[in-house]
Structure formats: structure tokens, C-alpha cells
């Protein structure tokens, strides 16, 4: 699918929003300005944004603990998202979810998940609804290389394949399950190989090439929409920062991290756009600037937002 200039612009904008959002969040955490923990996806923006932009607006996603880029890729109100990070009452989850649980069910974001592999079953069920109600919508299920070793991965891919459910299982393989490298946690190199055991297509894509991710996921989405069942897409990428804020990065080398920074998905996109004369440097800079300004506005909105009233503590346990 050829992307129009407008879509390319949105793609670039969202990658930058994700980067700017996480740089800001990282700054907050480093200074103890927000509590809890967070899992940043800096370096993985091309993977998440490319995949989400292959969806229609009314398609659905399940996101992960490392989900900021994913939900921004889907398109989200940054103000409400930043407010949630700061635990505010007008955040997406009224301050009860935080970084790991950003959700916007109405808009098709069925939630980030604090449990590795926790979204697999939910994605399958959401796809059951689409199939049963014949909506034509597709579910994009994000997970990482670590989650590919959870039992829920097998149960979900097996069931989805048997029932031909419209799910794109999208694995962001960033080479480490927390500190454990993929060499130590699976006996294969390519997670996409697992697709063959479910009789479904498996693709491998360079996750730092947003355009390639978009192209591959678009094909996968088309396959699902035609009623041909699920697809497994493995996106090879890398997180520049630690697993969470407690991570001292002792399990990988500086050289390895630096080498991956050279493959920055945002920079690669910029180079390609300029080389192909689609955008000028000045045009791109303008979009980037706008993205960073949006984040500043989101911070302002979040900081000015109220904390949840203590009376809200017991709200919404039950419908």
C-alpha cells in the first residue's frame, strides 16, 4: 500500500511524539517526579507506529507494558495520556492505571498489560467479537520476545488459527526479555518460525524501518480482513534504554547499544524522506517541533489536572 504524503507526515509526527513523550517521562522518573515504574520503548518507535498505521481507525489493539509508542501509534489524546502517567483524575484511567495500563476501549485500544502475554487471550476474544458480529475489523496484538515463551502465546495462536480469527500477532522482538537475551530464552533465532506450527503465515520485518513495518503489517491486516485467519509478524528492533527504571544495563555492552542507536528509526525515516525528495529537512523539522510542543502542552495539561479525590478509591470495581 502506497502511503500518501499526509500519512507519511502523521507517521513521522507520531514517532516523534512517542520519542518526545518518553524522553519527558524518563526525565520525570529520573527526578522522582512521578512514582512507580515505567518501561520505555525509545528506539522501537518505528515498529509500533508502522504497525498501528496499517490499521483503520476503528480496528483494535492490545498493547503491552512497553506500550507508549504503540498507543501513540494508534492515535491517542496525549493530554489524557500524560495526565495518566502523572496519576491525575482526568487521565485515561482516572489515575488508577498509570504507565502500564493506558487504555481507551471506546477507541479500540483494549489496554496495555502489566502481565507478559496477558493481552494474547484478550486479542483473541476481541477478534471473536469481530468475526461473530461480522464487523470486518482486525485486532493487532502487540507482545514481546519474552511473551512468546508464555503459555498464553501458544493457546492464543492455536485457537486463533483454528477459528481463523482476524488477529495480527505482532511481536516486537527487542532481543531481551528483561535482562535475558534471546539466545538464552529460546532455541531458535526467528520467532516468526513458530507460525508454521499453527499453519499460519509468519513474517520477519526490520522493526527500525517504519515503512517496511507498515507494508508488512498492511499485508497481514489484509489477510485477516479477508477471513484467512491470523498472521504472526516478528519485528526485529531494540530498546535503547533499560527494561525499567531499575535497570543498570549490566547485561549488554555500550557498543551494542550504540550500534543500535545508529539504526534509529526516526533518523532512518528522515534520511529516506529527504533522499526521495518527499519532504525537505525544514518540513520535517517543523513536524518534529510540533510533536515536541504537543508533549509540552500535554505536560502542562497533566500538571494542572487534579489528583483523583480519595472518594473515588472504591469507584468502578464493579459495573
Amino acid at each position: 500500500m502506497k502511503l500518501e504524503k499526509k500519512e507519511l507526515s502523521i507517521m513521522y509526527q507520531r514517532m516523534n511524539e512517542a520519542r518526545a513523550f518518553e524522553e519527558k517521562v524518563s526525565y520525570f522518573f529520573a527526578r522522582g517526579m512521578v512514582h512507580g515504574t515505567t518501561h520505555l520503548s525509545v528506539g522501537e518507535e518505528g515498529s509500533a507506529v508502522g504497525a498501528c498505521m496499517a490499521l483503520n481507525d476503528d480496528d483494535l489493539i492490545t498493547s503491552t507494558h512497553r506500550g507508549h509508542s504503540q498507543v501513540i501509534g494508534k492515535g491517542i489524546d496525549l493530554n489524557k495520556m500524560m495526565a495518566e502517567l502523572l496519576g491525575k483524575y482526568n487521565g485515561y484511567c482516572k489515575g488508577k492505571g498509570g504507565s502500564m495500563h493506558i487504555a481507551d476501549v471506546e477507541a479500540g485500544n483494549l489496554g496495555a498489560n502489566g502481565v507478559v502475554g496477558g493481552g494474547h487471550g484478550i486479542a483473541v476474544g476481541a477478534a471473536m467479537t469481530q468475526q461473530y458480529q461480522k464487523t470486518g475489523k482486525v485486532v493487532l496484538c502487540f507482545f514481546g520476545d519474552g511473551a512468546a515463551n508464555e503459555g498464553s502465546f501458544h493457546e492464543a495462536l492455536n485457537l486463533a488459527s483454528v477459528w481463523k480469527l482476524p488477529v495480527v500477532f505482532f511481536c516486537e522482538n527487542n532481543l531481551y526479555g528483561m535482562s535475558t537475551s534471546i539466545e538464552k530464552h529460546m532455541n531458535i533465532t526467528d520467532i516468526a518460525d513458530r507460525a508454521s506450527s499453527y499453519g499460519i503465515p509468519g513474517y520477519i520485518v526490520d522493526g527500525n524501518d517504519v515503512l517496511e513495518v507498515h507494508k508488512t503489517v498492511s499485508e497481514a491486516v489484509e489477510h485477516c480482513r479477508k477471513g484467512n485467519g491470523p498472521v504472526l509478524v516478528e519485528s526485529k528492533t531494540y530498546r535503547w534504554l533499560g527494561h525499567s527504571k531499575s535497570d543498570a544495563n549490566v547485561y549488554r555492552t555500550k557498543a551494542e547499544i550504540e550500534a543500535w542507536k545508529e539504526k534509529c528509526p526516526i533518523k532512518r525515516f528522515e534520511d529516506k524522506m529527504i533522499k526521495d525528495k518527499i519532504f525537505t529537512k525544514a518540513q520535517l523539522d517543523k513536524i518534529k517541533k510540533k510533536a515536541y510542543e504537543e508533549i509540552e502542552l500535554a505536560v502542562k495539561f497533566a500538571e494542572e489536572s487534579p489528583n483523583p479525590p480519595i472518594e473515588s478509591l472504591l469507584d468502578d470495581v464493579y459495573a
Binding site: 488508577k96 489496554g111 487471550g121 476474544g125 467479537t129 485457537l159 469507584d315 470495581v317 459495573a319
Partner: protein
């Protein structure tokens, strides 16, 4: 009223609701043409077809997880686990996903699903097919937990559970599946979730009991009545939310209380109900300590004599009542 088995009542509840609402689907292992491991769903596949009565692989985690995902996106799934013991495999889906979504997302999700599962010993199925694990689910805010002890309650509460917008754990008694009961004929017969039922009125002692221990308590109460001992039996029916008011009122009236469940005693829900009584204003009316009469702290063994000895017998229940009365 009409006479039907506990299993038939459950089937009728599901079928009536599925006729009423096209968004209800039913999924589980061998529930289709086989009719379910205990025959609960016989004939449903034929009536509703494979789009709505869906045989799944043996995959409890995704059965429950997919039910949650389908529920949050607009269906009202009923999912069946073949034995409550296998709920261990579905635990993340229920505890971390279904139960949490609404609260964790700031009230912007609804998860209208029912997870049905047969519990209890007595079928000679040994340690991994006989447990009563309701306390685990009662410990998770966001879940409702129902444990009917008669066919009428099973029917009325299952219909209510299917119409409820929350994830409901529906615990069935496998030993009651073939027992016949009187059930109201009205299609709109619903038992409200969270309402206890006084199964027998009495004045001397309150016995709070749920599940298949009810029938044993009823037999003991009948026997003791001949001696002039008046037993009041309160069946909570719903464990979460618990109808504390009815229980407390009964204990205030009788001044004595026993709580009975089949599940192992340690960490069991009988302990919770007991604490509800002693923390309440009923404490001032108590003439004796509240006693739990519950299963032994042991895995369920295979040998029938050993198996029967694991759970409160009629004799155990009678002894417990006499103990409380003689304080």
C-alpha cells in the same frame, strides 16, 4: 413449579438467555456435540449451532482470556471449565485481566462474562478433579462469585449472572447435577445476585451453608427438629457480594452460629463469613463462639472411604450443631 435436575436448570438458563440475546455465546471444552463432560449442554449445539456453541481446544487460559476479550468488545460470553481444578490454568485471565479491566481503566470497560465450573468431591476423581477453590476467587475484587445449592437457585442466579455486566465465577456442584428439584416455570424467574436465602426458619441456631453441604444440613435440621431443636439455615447463594445483613440478622435472632463449607478449612470462605458475624453487632448476641465446620486440610484422596472423610458428614454437622448448642 416443575421438576428438573440441577444440570437441566443450568441448561435451561443458558438456552433461555441465548434465545433472548444474540450477543450471548457459549464456549468450552467438549460442550458441543458431546454435550459437556457432565451433559449440562446436551442439545444446545443442535439448537444454537457452532457459531454460538463453540468447542475449544483444551486451553483454559485462552478460554477465559478470550471470554474476557469478547466481553469487553460487546459479546456476553459464557465459558465453561470442565472442572474447577483447571481454573488454576485460567487464573491470570480471571484475576489479572477480567477482574481488573474495569477498575484499572478508570471505569471505562465492562466485562460481562460468566465462567462456569463444577466443583466438589464425592465422584471418586481424586486430588485434581474434586476441589472447592471458591475462596481464591472471593479474594479478588472485581469478580462476583456465585455458588448455588439447588436447581432453582442455579437457574435464577445463572440468568442473573449472564445479564450482569461483571465477570462472574459460577460454581456448580458436580454431585448435584443429576439431583431433581422443584424449579419455577416462569421464563423471567431470576434470583438477584447478592441475596441470601433462608432455606429453613429456626430459632435456636443459625447454620450458614452453601453448595452441596446444604442438603446435609437440611437432613440434620429435620432430625434435630424431632428433639425440639430449631435450626435456621441461611444459604448465601452468592459469596461475593455477600448478603451480610441476612446472615447477621439471623444470628442476632438465634444467638448461635455455625458456618459450613465443603472446601478445606484453612483460608476457606467459612472463615470469612465467621469473621463477618463476629465483627458485626451480632457479636453481642452470641451465646457461643462461631464454629466452622469445613473440609479437612488435605488433598482429596481416591479411596471412597478416605474421600468421604474429607468433607463434613451428616454426623460431623450434627456434632457441630450440638457443640454450639451446649456451650
Amino acid at each position: 413449579m416443575k421438576t428438573m435436575t440441577y444440570a437441566e436448570a443450568i441448561r435451561e438458563a443458558m438456552s433461555e438467555e441465548m434465545r433472548r440475546d444474540k450477543n450471548i455465546i457459549f464456549m468450552g471444552e467438549d460442550i458441543g456435540i458431546y454435550g459437556g463432560a457432565f451433559g449440562v449442554s446436551v442439545g444446545m449445539f443442535e439448537e444454537f449451532g457452532e457459531e454460538r456453541v463453540k468447542d475449544t481446544p483444551i486451553s483454559e487460559a485462552v478460554i477465559a482470556g478470550a471470554a474476557a476479550g469478547a466481553a469487553v468488545t460487546g459479546l456476553r460470553p459464557i465459558a465453561e471449565l470442565m472442572f474447577m481444578d483447571f481454573s488454576t490454568i485460567a487464573m491470570d485471565s480471571m484475576v489479572n485481566q477480567a477482574a481488573k479491566m474495569r477498575y484499572m481503566f478508570g471505569g471505562k470497560a465492562k466485562v460481562p462474562m460468566v465462567l462456569r465450573m463444577p466443583a466438589g468431591s464425592g465422584a471418586g476423581a481424586a486430588a485434581q478433579h474434586s476441589q472447592s477453590l471458591e475462596a481464591w476467587f472471593c479474594h479478588v475484587p472485581g469478580l462476583k462469585v456465585i455458588a448455588p445449592s439447588t436447581a432453582a437457585d442455579a437457574k435464577g442466579l445463572l440468568k442473573a449472572a449472564i445479564r450482569d455486566d461483571n465477570p462472574v465465577i459460577f460454581i456448580e456442584q458436580k454431585l448435584l447435577y443429576r439431583t431433581k428439584f422443584e424449579v419455577p416455570e416462569d421464563e423471567d424467574f431470576i434470583v438477584e445476585i447478592g441475596k441470601a436465602d433462608i432455606k429453613r426458619e429456626g430459632t435456636d441456631v443459625t447454620v450458614v451453608v452453601y453448595g452441596r453441604m446444604l442438603q446435609r444440613v437440611e437432613a440434620v435440621a429435620e432430625k434435630l427438629a424431632e428433639e425440639g431443636i430449631s435450626v435456621e439455615i441461611v444459604d448465601p447463594r452468592t459469596l461475593v457480594p455477600l448478603d451480610k445483613e441476612t446472615i447477621i440478622k439471623s444470628v442476632i435472632k438465634t444467638g448461635r452460629a455455625i458456618v459450613i463449607n465443603e472446601a478445606v478449612k484453612t483460608g476457606g470462605y467459612a472463615g470469612e463469613i465467621s469473621a463477618v458475624i463476629t465483627e458485626s453487632e451480632a457479636f453481642d448476641y452470641l451465646d457461643a463462639p462461631v464454629i466452622r465446620c469445613a473440609g479437612k486440610d488435605v488433598p482429596i484422596p481416591y479411596n471412597p472411604v478416605l474421600e468421604a472423610a474429607c468433607v463434613p458428614s451428616v454426623d460431623d454437622i450434627e456434632a457441630a450443631i450440638r457443640k454450639v448448642l451446649n456451650r
